[in-house]
Amino acid sequence: MIQAKGIHKQFGALHVLKGVDLDVAERELVFIIGPSGSGKSTMLRCLNRLEVPTSGSVVVDGIDLLDPRTDLNHARQRIGMVFQSFNLYPHMTALGNVTLALRKVAGKSRAEADEIGHAALARVGLAERADHRPGQLSGGQQQRVAIARAIALEPRVMLFDEPTSALDPELVGSVLGVMRALRESGMTMVVVSHEMGFARAAADRVMFMDDGLIVEQGPPAQIFEAPLHARTRGFISQIQRH
């Protein structure tokens, strides 16, 4: 589903990604962990071209994202993204947030879009909140609206960039619950997060990134309990202390 090869990303003199390969199979859930500044969010953002890699190739669902002839806006409908800070449109209702791209990009009529939007909000458990503005919702609810906004477009892949890091601890569960349901529905997912419990339960593969490179990867049990590299061990023991 995703084939990223030899991804380099430089911001001026700063070399953030130093040749990362990432292959994700259909229905696979890949977890990316690593210290801040390791390049994991940048890597994720290369997968829908919010960042343009300095070199390398990114192919998602058979579409070459770095080919200048690619219709990027069309491709992005197939790649849902959820952000750490939700990024809901504050001037629109929850339903408005979910239906904007359905109407403007997917070309649905307002009635069709509303129907799909209501269904997407129901999937994240917020059918009753369709008319609320983001400011009237809790952080967990906002993040679930953001997930609904992405899944309403029926993406082939979902990217999650630290979806629970900005949430109060008691709100994390509801978001993880939605992600688990999405996983069970067979969605291909790439998740940057430190939710170890979720990773253990749901991930097929965990990647540890440090300093712009993938240090090691494997099944969650291996990475969390028997990491091969000293850097992975150090990082795992650090986040487990919290």
Binding site: R76, M81, F83, L88, Y89, L100, A101, V105
Partner: protein, 223 residues
């Protein structure tokens, strides 16, 4: 004649006022017409420039910044005089009305462009990213996500600036525009009495107090 009588005779002369108030009312009409034209065209041009600037084409943006800084730096009266007396030398002969409209619209365009631009850049990057990640194009994102939020935060500073510039219509009297001040001045010359100026001041209050009150309401509502 006492001091008070001399004052009323000079500034509140009933006979003079009765004779010249129709002129002042006609001036009020001209001022309203001029002000409306300046506000509509100035704000529209300012918004258009700010939107154009957001496309980030370097050469275009240098041009925008140059024009905007130019019209923010020049005193409006200087622009009016330059247009009114300068353009005829290239065989374009604008009336005083058109010169004043054009000048103040350009000044409002320059200031409002900066305000709109500040509003656009104040919207967090995440809003762009979220919209683009769902497949919306640059222009769609600007139109549906960025501008609705940006306009909301620009309304208070925009209202203030618009009022300040619109009052500059009085400068039109210098190039023979028969707006409020122009009518009042000629009435003063014809009657040898300054009472028409009092009427003119009253006309400005009638026009601008509601606008100022409206501005305060808008500011409270959107801040």
């Amino acid at each position: 004649m006492g001091g008070w009588e001399r004052f009323t005779e000079t500034f509140l002369n009933a006979k003079v006022m009765a004779r010249y108030w129709p002129d002042i009312v006609s001036g009020l009409g001209t001022t309203i017409e001029l002000a409306a034209l300046i506000v509509v065209s100035g704000l529209a041009a300012g918004l258009a420039l700010a939107v154009l600037r957001s496309f980030g084409i370097r050469v275009v943006n240098w041009g925008i910044i140059f024009v905007v800084d130019l019209f923010r730096a020049l005193p409006p009266l200087v622009i009016i005089v330059l247009i009114y007396f300068g353009l005829p030398s290239i065989d374009v002969v604008p009336s005083g009305f058109v010169s004043t409209w054009l000048s103040l619209a350009l000044v409002l365009m320059a200031f409002s462009e900066e305000i709109f631009w500040a509003g656009i850049t104040a919207i967090p990057r995440g809003q762009w990213e979220a919209a683009r990640s769902t497949g919306l194009g640059f222009t769609q994102t600007l139109a549906h996500v960025i501008l609705p939020q940006a306009l909301r935060i620009t309304i208070p500073p925009l209202t203030n600036r618009t009022i300040a510039i619109t009052k500059g219509t009085a400068l039109g009297s210098v190039v023979a525009v028969t707006e409020i001040l122009g009518q009042a001045s000629s009435a003063v010359s014809n009657s040898y009495n300054p009472s028409p100026l009092t009427l003119g001041a009253a006309a400005y209050l009638v026009l601008f107090i509601p606008v100022v009150v409206f501005g305060r309401w808008v500011e409270r509502k959107f801040r």
